[in-house]
């Protein structure tokens, strides 16, 4: 039980997120309405993804320092879980966008030409595609040590690309996505105080869920590759 305390915290925080996230009173902003509750869910996916990718790149560096294949397994599994959360964040963003940015007077496919220009969408797609390429690159190399080395170096490049693609370029270009003038979700002045007491536990909860899933994947991979290590 000693090792499992953080899993209990994860369960408690996410149950709290669902209950409080749906019940608290949120400011009824024009266009957004009640959808600002998505801050606890949609933005939580990205927080989780960033943490998982960060852990992945740290393990890639650890591999390059030690050449211990165990870190290569860690690095790969964290990247996979990061991609899963990234895809969830992308698809939830699409739903949210369809009912806020899209002009209700036009058919969705007519708004599409405006929405497809959204730099945040393009940047995120690029970042996720770079991580897909990481998987393709890995699995195309047969030799284990070579695969680990090449993919560890690529992982560092992919992580470096994540920042311009997701955080910097969409904020320089004109964009509908919040974040033009700073960091609205993390800025203490922009989020209403009541929402903040759900927001931060939600971020921690989703991140812990991602780490939990990844540890299971890592343990499974270690059992599977025991002969090789």
């Amino acid at each position: 039980m000693r090792k499992h305390w953080w899993k209990i915290i994860c369960v408690a925080l996410l149950v709290y997120t669902i209950i409080a996230g749906l019940l608290i009173k949120v400011p009824n902003l024009p266009l957004l309405g009640q959808t600002s509750r998505n801050l606890f869910f949609h933005v939580g996916m990205w927080m989780s993804m960033m943490t998982l990718f960060t852990v992945s790149v740290v393990n890639a560096i650890r591999y390059l320092r030690t050449f211990n294949l165990r870190y290569d397994i860690y690095s790969r599994q964290y990247a996979v879980a990061g991609i899963v959360f990234g895809l969830l964040g992308y698809s939830t963003g699409t739903i949210w966008m369809s009912y806020t940015w899209a002009d209700p007077n036009n058919a969705l496919f007519q708004s599409f030409s405006a929405l497809a220009r959204e730099p945040k969408l393009i940047g995120t797609a690029i970042a996720l595609l770079i991580y897909f390429a990481y998987m393709v690159l890995r699995d195309s190399i047969k030799d284990m040590d070579q695969r680990a080395k090449v993919s560890a170096v690529y992982n560092i490049f992919a992580y470096a690309m994540l920042f311009p693609a997701i955080w910097i370029i969409p904020r320089i270009l004109p964009s509908l996505h919040p974040g033009q003038e700073g960091n609205p979700a993390l800025n203490f002045k922009d989020v209403s105080p009541l929402m903040r007491i759900v927001e931060w536990p939600a971020f921690v909860g989703w991140t812990l869920l991602g780490v939990w899933i990844t540890t299971l994947k890592i343990r499974f991979a270690l059992v599977k590759e025991r002969k090789l290590l």
């Binding site: 149950v15 749906l22 019940l23 499974f220």
Partner: protein, 75 residues
């Protein structure tokens, strides 16, 4: 068989309050009253929580399976 019983119990428990209410006839039970308040939005929360808890139980089961696998492999 034991597993089936376990799953069946899990499926039935969330519906129990409704059953109790049905036996009482016309009178609204406290649970039913609560669930129907605020335009029945608590029903949605109950559904989401059930999904979330189901996923957590699945993760715990996976965890146990992997622990057993690790033990069998002597890690």
């Amino acid at each position: 068989m034991r597993k089936l019983k376990y799953i069946f119990t899990l499926l039935v428990i969330p519906g129990l309050p409704a059953l109790v209410q049905a036996q009482e006839g016309n009178k609204e039970s406290a649970v039913g009253e609560f669930m129907r308040s605020t335009e029945r939005s608590y029903v949605v929360i109950a559904v989401i929580l059930t999904i979330l808890i189901g996923l957590f139980l699945y993760l715990v089961r996976l965890e146990k399976k992997i622990s057993r696998l690790e033990k069998d492999n002597g890690q």
